[in-house]
């Protein structure tokens, strides 16, 4: 199987599985879901190094979103709810 197909298959299994597990645990924060999607995305990138048409803009967007969520959490810890 080509590595791009394996990459997509990995993400297609990992993302719904994450939703299923987190929802079973009663998780209601969307940032937790998105952070885990980001993590899975970068793990899949590292494992399969897929061939792309363009630069990895999606990775950049996900990283920005992830950084925003982390920053919000840090602010929450530092300055309180």
């Amino acid at each position: 199987m080509k590595r791009n197909v394996r990459y997509v298959a990995f993400l297609a299994v990992a993302m719904p599985l994450t939703v299923a597990v987190l929802s079973a645990l009663g998780e209601q924060r969307i940032d937790v879901y998105l952070s885990l999607f980001t993590l899975e995305y970068f793990v899949a990138n590292a494992l399969f190094s897929p061939r792309r048409r363009t630069r990895d803009y999606l990775g950049i967007i996900l990283l920005v979103i992830f950084t925003y969520f982390v920053a919000m959490r840090v602010m929450e810890v530092l300055y309180g709810g």
Binding site: N4, M15, P16, V19, L22, R51, L62
Partner: protein, 235 residues
């Protein structure tokens, strides 16, 4: 745009509409997260290249080079296997295929390295063909790839750059190097495969010769099920 990219685009649009509708009508976090995952998968699918055209062109060019070598080998009918050596002056890897050895093989290879490049080399040590294998300009091909260790360089070139083999593994023991891989490209060139190893083996030999700066003799190659196992001897 490939078929997979079109599917990805539709998946992206579907996921986006679904996400918006869910946020407005049924704001359940797991459902919204699931629709976001559909958006992400759609984006991923629409940006990937599944049948890279330039890659195929590169493989066709390599096949053409191998075909030319096959024609030369057919003409001279050598019985010994190739020794891959890196010529520092020309920055190329050459495959020396002995036709006649009068003293010993290392002496013949040393004589080749001391002389300027010529296709048919004849000296007191014997005669041999000096061929430029498909990956002769391996220094340029490797570019910025980490070249201190053999395995990462071989894996990077065979699987990532050229996509001519997968599941590549390299191990070494004393003066022997063992290579295992699953070929993606298979050439029906009997003389080339016998003397130089199949295309991925030949490319791997060039990398080993360049990285180790040693003489790399192609010893043999075995096909077991879908895998290829090649053995090289270095000195």
């Amino acid at each position: 745009m490939e078929r997979e990219n079109v599917i990805g685009f539709f998946l992206f649009v579907f996921g986006l509409v679904l996400t918006i509708l869910l946020v407005i009508l049924l704001p359940e976090t797991p459902l919204v997260a699931l629709s976001v995952s559909i958006v992400l998968l759609g984006l991923v699918l629409s940006t990937l290249v599944f049948t890279p055209v330039p890659q195929r062109a590169v493989v066709v060019l390599m096949k053409s080079l191998a075909l030319q070598i096959e024609a030369m080998l057919e003409e001279f009918k050598p019985e010994k296997t190739a020794v891959y050596v890196y010529r520092d002056d020309d920055e190329v890897v050459v495959a020396a295929v002995p036709i006649r050895v009068t003293v010993d093989l290392p002496a013949l290879i040393d004589a080749i390295l001391e002389s300027p490049f010529r296709t048919v080399f004849v000296s007191a040590s014997g005669s041999c063909l000096e061929l430029l294998p498909p990956a002769t300009k391996i220094k340029e091909l490797l570019g910025e790839v980490e070249t201190e260790d053999v395995e990462p360089a071989v894996v990077s070139v065979l699987s990532t750059m050229l996509e001519i083999a997968e599941d590549v593994k390299v191990t070494s023991e004393a003066n022997r190097i063992y290579l295992a891989y699953t070929p993606i490209v298979d050439l029906e060139l009997p003389r080339f495969n016998e003397c130089m190893g199949s295309l991925p083996t030949s490319v791997a030999a060039c990398i080993i010769a360049y990285v180790t700066k040693k003489k790399v003799k192609f010893v043999r190659e075995d096909n077991v099920k879908s895998k290829v196992y090649a053995v090289f001897e270095t000195w």
